[in-house]
Symmetry: C2
Subunit: 146 residues, 2 copies
Amino acid sequence: MTAQTFITIGQLAKRTGVAVSAIRFYEEKGLLQSLRTSGNQRRFLRSDIRRVSFILIAQRLGLALSEIEEELATLPEGRTPSPRDWQKISRRMRDQIDTRITLLTRTRAKLDGCIGCGCLSLQKCQLYNPNDKMGAAGPGPRAVLD
Amino acid sequence: MTAQTFITIGQLAKRTGVAVSAIRFYEEKGLLQSLRTSGNQRRFLRSDIRRVSFILIAQRLGLALSEIEEELATLPEGRTPSPRDWQKISRRMRDQIDTRITLLTRTRAKLDGCIGCGCLSLQKCQLYNPNDKMGAAGPGPRAVLD
DNA sequence: CTGCAACCTCAAGCTAAGTTGAGGTCAAGC
DNA sequence: GCTTGACCTCAACTTAGCTTGAGGTTGCAG
């Protein structure tokens, strides 16, 4: 009775600083799950606070919700990430950041070479290289192009 | 007669590898301008090939169309960028890339510190810091949040 | 002068990550 | 027992950068 295991959507929202509408949205996307009361209201587990925290942190790192969902799916039983899981996941994220830094650094080098030349030709310009798509990171709307 | 100064939208598309619909879109956004024939068809200047190239290159560098428009607007008389203009612009872009690399590097350092701890707490976690929004770069849909 | 490709203008759709609003229900205090 | 606030669903809107489609013209070659 005292150790209430379930919390309402409003409480989850307050504890994580996320809007209620966003939590519903996450659930719809499969990042969260909930039980329903007889009156059709959602009840979350206390541990979902941690789960939402994970989502927020991963977002700051630049992961899209779909990618975060994949990470969460790698956990057995759809478990909320433990410190140990978090370490594995964060190592993967570190690698992604590394890749992005490398790409940006390479681009900067090209740009430096370009500042001197000012060619602006799609044939000659080193910068215009469709193959390395720039560390623009954000999947964004241009994902349509792929 | 031989030095045909005007080209059709289809020719511009072919020369730049951009879809016809995209060119119309750029014009609508004010990145390009065109004349019309008596039959209401667009005619572009040859120099617009270069202008479109500039747009493509700037996009690779991660600039949004609105930012590219601003850059183009800094040119006197709405001129197509000359090598000299390009140098000024690319220096500004270099600075932006620098900023992004710095941010990413800082984040990576925090993440390294975090891998050992696995705290996952919004209160304690260094990574969860709403103030530096990560080098996620893409203005994206989350602009709504600001 | 006819046929076809290339052009024209809208309008609607796509993705991401949500928000906002309308219209209705639930739960708890007084 | 009724009012109020928290909750429910569903649909539509937001930004970016385009594409796709419908339905209609233009322009050039034969």
